[in-house]
């Protein structure tokens, strides 16, 4: 162990709680990944490919970015709702 590492350890011992405490980092990382995983839970696997194909179809007619299309599946009172949210560009040019 280098001298600076030893010094850090001693400092760490005396400092008590510090802002860069590793448990704060652990909590933040867990909150993000678990929120992400809960969001995915119970959703069918085809959602990703459905989203991709919908984007392709819409992009044929409208000039959109792939981030402008959001596909979501919600369950409420025993019925499933497929939500399709497309943000169109400001000036929609109808391409004929």
């Amino acid at each position: 162990m280098t001298i600076s590492a030893k010094l850090n350890k001693v400092l760490h011992y005396f400092k008590g709680v510090d802002k860069t405490a590793s448990n704060k980092l652990a909590k933040e990382r867990l909150q993000i990944i678990i929120a992400h995983e809960r969001n995915k839970k119970g959703k069918p696997d085809y959602l990703v490919s459905l989203q991709k194909e919908l984007i392709d179809v819409i992009a044929k007619y409208v000039n959109i970015n792939k981030d402008d299309v959001c596909v979501d599946l919600d369950r409420q009172d025993g019925c499933s709702i497929l939500e399709l949210n497309v943000t169109l560009p400001n000036a929609v040019e109808v391409s004929n």
Partner: protein, 274 residues
């Protein structure tokens, strides 16, 4: 009414078997007729923790395949009366357990037992699924550590969707969080997730906190569940957890930092050396 309790976690090595053994002993000590079942087919260990490894003749799979009766397979515990152990088999065939087979065994047990404790294997495969499928209550064992907390969240999702109660739309399984290997000193130093942190993430009612303790290894060495070591912090914490499982209100112990007591420290060092 018989209550079936699953002890589960997702992650391995967090203390499921230690917890199953201690909860089962704790319930039996209070006069409830209790059976504890090892679902870890191929890797049985509950027998070692309960100290009955040399008395195993028939196992879970023998009963399912009707090669032995349930009464022949159940091992009477040597510590407490009213406690019986059903060991897992050491066969590598994990498909030996079936949903119907497990259901039949639990049904037969519920004729005579008050509590059935199901010790789940790690992972989310068949054994873990079957251990939780018929449960009324779940004890989720979690270490204050990122991978364990994440896996516990996965298990909570499965408890809410892949169990009999969930499938039949009955009242959901009641969930109880048990935090093991907790070290208030390390939490204070900022090196370990705190109870509050874990609660913020999982939001499951806390059943108990088992402190990191030398007594747990000692207990497994001797084959006497740690709850029987009434002198030890971990043993007392398990007794508290059993009381809470039965609906009693008991204040949490061993959750705040020890005072920097030099005398105490010296005694602890002495104990560690001894």
């Amino acid at each position: 009414m018989t209550k079936t309790i699953v002890v589960t976690s997702g992650k391995g090595g967090v203390g499921k078997t230690t917890t199953s053994a201690s909860i089962a002993v704790g319930l039996a000590c209070r006069g409830f007729k209790t059976a504890v079942l090892d679902f870890d087919i191929g890797l049985r260990n509950l027998d070692l923790i309960m100290g009955c490894e040399r008395r195993v003749v028939y196992d879970f799979v023998n009963v399912i395949r009707e090669e032995a009766s349930l009464n022949q397979a159940l091992i009477r515990d040597k510590h407490v009366k009213d406690l019986y152990i059903l060991p897992a088999s050491q066969t590598r065939d994990k498909d030996a357990l079936t949903l119907e087979g497990v259901g039949k065994i639990l049904e037969e047990l519920s004729k005579t037992f008050d509590y059935i404790v199901c010790d789940s294997p790690a992972g989310i495969e068949r054994g873990a699924h079957l251990a939780m499928y018929y449960a009324d209550k779940a004890v989720i064992v979690t270490n204050p550590e990122v991978s364990s907390v994440r896996d516990s969240d996965r298990i909570l999702g499965l408890l809410a969707s892949k169990t009999k109660r969930a499938e039949e739309g009955a009242d959901p399984i009641s969930e109880h969080l048990l935090i093991t290997r907790y070290s208030p000193n390390r939490v204070q130093r900022g090196d370990m997730l705190s109870l509050e942190d874990i609660n913020d993430i999982l939001s499951v009612p806390l059943l108990g906190v088992i402190p990191e303790s030398q007594s747990v290894l000692r207990a497994s060495n001797s084959g006497d569940p740690v709850i029987m070591d009434a002198e030890s912090d971990a043993g007392q914490a398990y007794s508290d957890a059993v009381a809470r499982l039965l609906g009693e209100e008991v204040a949490m112990r061993f959750v705040s930092k020890e005072k920097n007591n030099w005398l105490k420290r010296i005694f602890r060092i002495k104990e560690e050396i001894a």
